[in-house]
Symmetry: C2
């Protein structure tokens, strides 16, 4: 099977061994934090029926459709399938499909790749890993979950060696109530228009509000003033009150957003800001909405987004409102690995290399390795009975911190390859420092 | 987005929450064992160029091909892609693509879904998870890895709550050398014919050997006698010698197989048998071959297969021989979960439910939960301030073992929902028994 050297596929990132270890530890850390908060693991199939995927409309052109290379004309059982482009659609489908067998409220986390046929660029891939948490309930969902989920994300991001992040939070009820109270004809259209402020500027927003909704100068001025409000505590409410708009839905939104911001300020100071310009593109959000940016890398886009949705999963008269947040693992790692801002202390899990004095010693060395593994120490035996200098370099090239040299009489010496120090050790009780037991990830 | 209740897709299994926890723990356990043996984590993209996927020939009709729903005519960058049908092809491609940046011998494990458009049946799915380990080296690969890999699998299977398994091992050099020494015209064809013995019986094999290779009665008798040899130790060599066939490649194969069987008998007594009928369908194996069956579920097919390959990854003059084994996670779980022979002690990761006396107490209860989580105890707060009886039932329905009741004065009581015993506890030091800390998997 001789062939030329394969070349990478644009948009389908794959990491080298150190990056693979980073990704695995990031996924493990997120899983551990989510489970500490009682989220159950969920893995769904990669494919969904096309009609499920196209329900949202906006993403139709990005969906990858499947067909079997030599599909039988008489077997349509797997036609009309596409790869999921997020983890929300498969989750909503899983909830509906299994509703009778699930306990509500249902908390799950889900860490899987997604696929979109987008033009690849920094932060946008055709295959990318997402880590989602959601809580769904049957019929009604208490707003306290909108307070809780950003605190879970705070713990998750805080457990990773990432640059500081800021989560911008707003509330759809607040926006919709504000535009209604202001007398705009189509509050949902106003949300979409003001959402474009970063792209078209305040002038563009004002012109569009006038053109499309017939907004007056005073209404435009109020909209732009609201979009400027950004506070790290509940004081956004005072600044909003100064604009003199009254509406019951607005009050509800203010109260909900205040609870989110104040709980976050206690639990994770500095993470959350109330930012009344945030809208999220997707129509299905109905309460709190979240977007998160790495400080200094705002142009990368949001690394963790989501919100509350009341109508994503409904079947007949049953509805399953939920709230969820999604961390863009590939977006974060593509940036930090690509710029060498994150790496692993070694390219293998191995903590100890057992040196091989000669070929006849392999069974004895295998027994030494098995003993270390039984005590949780990742160990491999050297591939060949080369000169010890070569065996040490084998460890060095991979970052394996310790080389164990067996003596004929059953004694061993252990060498720290970083310091070069070598000393006799008691095999049955020797333990590496906790920091050396596993590869660690961190900034370079 | 109202819709009817979705129905499952045949061949794309998804587990309910308890099964999800089982699958996650199986994957975690396998990862941990593989890392203890120094295998580095690898995750490759789901797609490969079709020419890579079709290289093997045999599986072409099963490949899922991708297209973008609204692909631009001028953008062919993701045409000609298909989903991988195993983890060996992507691994070989990754090695070739990154050969200059990898350290050899390169040991990796890889746990991901694969896709094949096969007709679904027990043990065969259209989406299925595999857990692979492989060692590849540059130019030459020492045969001791063929001895080592089944011992890693022994540790991996031994760490899972599975029925007893038996690994059947043979060696392609032994088979090929035997047929050559026997004077058969096409030893590779003989391997393929004898491999069908379970399907077409000894009579069918004899007839085919006569028809296709012009084998004499004596040659057929020797082939069938060899196929009957199955021993748990090195005595297969004596039984083979009694057939009076001599060939240098046969001797090499006998020596290699003897080492595999003897090392396994020491490390994992009862796991491995030398079974000279095993051939593996795939042409690319060149040394040891492995197939593993769950005792009492042989009809399910092999749950862990592989072998040595010398020519899977070659680019120009470079070649990367390897040896690998692949565990069929979905095949195992489909069987054991489907028959309720494996389950989890609870359907959520949560160990403690903090009961909520009233809505005003939520921030205090959140602080109690945060304190438990800091000590590694998975905790959630009750969703609503219902009567305590209802909150206890919330825990019972999910299998959450402990409910914590906060008192107004900061004291707490903890109830074991299984025994119903409830007692005051010191919040800062209370620890559940280790067996209750995480959901456990086991037989029902």
């Amino acid at each position: 099977m001789s062939q030329g050297k394969p070349t990478p596929l644009s948009g389908f990132p794959e990491w080298l061994p150190a990056g693979q270890i980073v990704q695995r530890q990031v996924i493990d850390t997120l899983s551990r934090v989510f489970e500490l908060h009682g989220f159950a693991p969920l893995s769904t199939r990669a494919v969904e029926p096309l009609d499920q995927l196209l329900r949202k409309g906006e993403t139709s052109k990005e969906v990858y459709v499947l067909r079997r290379l030599q599909a039988d004309a008489d077997d349509a059982s797997d036609s009309g399938l596409g790869l999921h482009f997020d983890l929300t659609v498969p989750f909503a489908r899983y909830v509906l499909e299994n509703a009778g067998k699930l306990q509500f409220p249902f908390r799950r986390y889900q860490i899987q790749p997604c696929w979109r046929g987008e033009r690849p660029q920094e932060g946008r891939y055709r295959e990318f890993w997402q880590a989602d948490i959601d809580v769904v309930d049957r019929d009604t969902l208490s707003p306290h979950y909108e307070v809780e989920l950003p605190l879970v994300i705070a713990d998750a991001l805080g457990a990773l060696p990432l640059p500081k992040a800021t989560m911008h939070v707003n509330n759809r009820k607040l926006s919709q109530g504000f535009y209604t109270g202001l007398g705009l004809s189509d509050p949902m259209a106003a949300i979409r228009i003001v959402d474009k402020i970063d792209k078209i500027g305040p002038g563009g927003v004002g012109a569009t509000l006038a053109d499309e909704l017939g907004a007056s100068d005073a209404q435009i001025k109020a909209c732009l003033a609201m979009a400027e409000i950004r506070t790290t505590d509940g004081s956004f409410a005072d600044r909003l009150a100064a604009l003199g708009v009254a509406d019951p839905l607005l009050d509800e939104g203010i109260e909900e957003l205040t609870r989110v911001v104040e709980a976050a300020a206690e639990h994770a100071p500095g993470l959350v800001v109330a930012d009344l310009r945030i809208a999220r593109g997707l129509d299905y959000y109905t309460g709190t909405v979240y977007e998160t940016f790495l400080d200094g890398a705002e142009a990368l886009g949001s690394i963790c987004s989501g919100g509350r949705y009341d109508n994503l999963a409904t079947a007949g008269t049953e509805s399953y409102p939920g709230v969820g947040l999604s961390i863009g693992i590939s977006r974060i790692l593509g940036r930090l690995l690509g710029r060498h801002e994150l790496t692993a202390t070694r390219t293998v899990p191995t903590c100890v290399l057992v040196a091989l004095p000669d070929d006849a010693s392999r069974p004895a060395c295998d027994r030494i390795a098995a003993g270390l593994r039984r005590r949780g120490i990742a160990t491999e035996v050297a591939p060949a009975a080369q000169k010890y200098g070569k065996q040490i370099r084998f460890a060095q090239r991979r970052g394996i911190p310790y080389v164990l040299f067996p003596d004929a009489d059953g004694a061993v010496e252990i060498r720290d390859i970083r310091s070069g120090e070598q000393a006799p050790a008691v095999l049955e009780s020797w333990q590496p420092p906790a920091a050396d037991l596993h590869a660690r990830i961190g900034t370079e």
